[in-house]
């Protein structure tokens, strides 16, 4: 799932649960998650073995 897809689903879920005020917090979390994924810590299936 891309971050954009995740964010859209999270905001929709928060609204469904009566928590629309979560939207700015989720947008901030998405920004942090974007940075985390871009750092590429750890290994990936299409990459060298980890040592």
């Amino acid at each position: 799932m891309t971050i954009e897809e995740w964010l859209k689903a999270a905001i929709a879920d928060a609204e469904r649960r009566g928590l629309p005020e979560l939207k700015p917090l989720l947008e901030a979390l998405a920004q942090a998650t974007r940075a985390l994924r871009a750092a590429r810590f750890g290994g990936q299936a299409h990459g060298p073995a980890e040592h």
Binding site: L25, L29, A32, A35, L36, F41, G42
Partner: protein, 446 residues
């Protein structure tokens, strides 16, 4: 005015210049005079404390000396189980949950002769840095009551800064011991991860939570650490001579976003230590800019799991801000949590490398002085940042890596508010770190 230290009280107690009962009565009088304003204590255990103090005096008269904490009034963050009291974690969620047993660290304090004065206020569930979101209302900084004492162990630090106790027990998941210590002009120690048992403590994140003391001096922190660590006799604290100190300063990231007063105080300390013969080198943590990102994915994942049931069953019992942040935390995905764990390993390796050849990393504790109560953002140089983000910026790394870290006072701002200096030691070497910290404290005039 210097606070009465545990060390000084211990000497005066044995010289029969003061009794444990005198000391506890003094603390209780201060609580009666100031706690309504400072809101440091949630629960004062006056009768039990007086009984314990009388017993401590009787023991000493009979030749039973339990060591440096004998008869010392200690406060406890209300996140630790103390038998027969509700462990509130400053939340209505925990109403009526009376602890049956003391947490192991509380039992160790009692065994060392400490007297538990009461339980102190905190940011609800330790999930914040200002102590403002508490079911019991905000704690206030004794040095300026319009300001936060820091958090989450804010009531704890306030209780020591206002001399309502001589030491206190806190927890630190992202800086919650070191931040309030810095904001209140005290010494706060986060030992190495796992060094002190965290059972009998309401968790925020089991993989980041640390237990440790806040006190008036490094020597007092040493005494408390020994009592908390094991039941072995306390060895005297031998400071590392300043000329033997090898300190590494991670300037990039850690010294970039600092209030002018904090920067001046920190640079003055670095200069003084260098002038006195300490070896000071610059080092780098390559992934420092990702610390906050890695940290929040782990702490959110852990906290969300712990709070999921009560968020669904009794959401109205949380303070609004803490509830919202916990709800946000529930959206962290498993794959991002695992990425953060990988990031944590990378950061741990980088801190170990930065410490190679040095006794400790040296950096400020807080980029700002204690913030005004009610502030949600703060101006730091040209940048306006969220208070919480700024306050965690320099401390949370060592929760991720588990290295021991201590904050000690390092000058004041123009308005007289304290600044904090942080030292992070070699993995697992908390005692050595305290020896280094005592050397630094002495060199800086403490």
């Amino acid at each position: 005015m210097a606070l009465l230290s545990i060390d000084t009280f211990a000497r005066r107690l044995r010289a029969r210049e003061i009794s444990a009962v005198d000391m506890i009565d003094t603390c209780l009088r201060r609580i009666e005079a100031s706690n309504t304003r400072l809101n440091a204590y949630i629960l004062v255990m006056a009768d039990e404390a007086r009984r314990q103090a009388a017993e401590a005096d009787r023991e000493l008269a009979a030749g039973v000396d339990r060591g440096p904490l004998h008869g010392v009034p200690i406060s406890v963050k209300d996140i630790f189980d103390v038998a027969g009291t509700v462990t509130t974690a400053a939340s209505r969620v925990r109403e009526g949950l009376v602890a049956e047993h003391d947490a192991p660290v509380i039992a160790r304090l009692r065994h060392a002769g400490a007297i538990i004065v009461g339980k102190t206020n905190l940011h609800e569930f330790a999930f914040g840095t200002t102590n403002e979101d508490s079911a019991f209302g905000p704690a206030r900084n004794p040095l300026d009551e319009t300001r936060s004492p820091g958090g989450s162990s804010g009531g704890s630090a306030a209780s020591v800064a206002a001399e309502m106790a001589l030491g206190t027990l806190g927890t630190d998941t992202g800086g919650s011991i070191r931040i309030p210590a810095a904001a209140c002009g005290l010494v706060g120690l986060k030992p190495a991860y796992g060094e002190l048992p965290a059972s009998g403590v309401v968790p925020l994140s089991r993989t980041l939570d640390h237990v440790g003391p806040i006190a008036a001096s490094v020597t007092d922190a040493w005494h408390m650490f020994h009592a908390l660590h094991d039941r072995a006799p306390v060895k005297p604290l031998a400071p590392t001579p300043v000329r033997a100190l090898r300190l590494a300063v991670p300037r990039r990231y850690f010294c970039e976003l600092l209030d002018d007063d904090v920067r001046s105080a920190f640079e003055a300390a670095v200069e003084k230590l260098g002038r006195d013969g300490a070896t000071i080198v610059d080092v780098d943590i390559p992934h420092a800019s990702l610390i906050a990102t890695v940290y929040l994915h782990i702490v959110f994942g852990d906290a969300a799991a712990y709070h999921a049931d009560t968020l669904d069953a009794m959401p109205e019992r949380y303070t609004p801000n803490v509830r919202l942040r916990l709800e946000m935390a529930r959206y962290v995905t498993a794959e991002d949590y695992v990425r953060a764990l990988d990031g944590r390993r990378t950061l741990t390796r980088e801190v170990n490398e930065a410490l190679t050849g040095s006794d400790a990393l040296m950096l400020p504790t807080l980029p700002i002085v204690a913030p005004p109560i009610g502030a949600t953002t703060v101006q730091v140089g040209a940048v306006r940042e969220a208070v919480r983000t700024v306050m965690l910026r320099l401390t949370q790394l060592f929760n991720l890596t588990g290295h021991p870290a201590v904050s000690l006072p390092c000058g004041t701002s123009e308005s007289g508010l304290p600044c904090g200096l942080q030292l992070a030691g070699v993995a697992g070497q908390t005692r050595t770190l305290l020896q280094v910290a005592r050397g630094v404290e002495m060199a800086l005039g403490g």
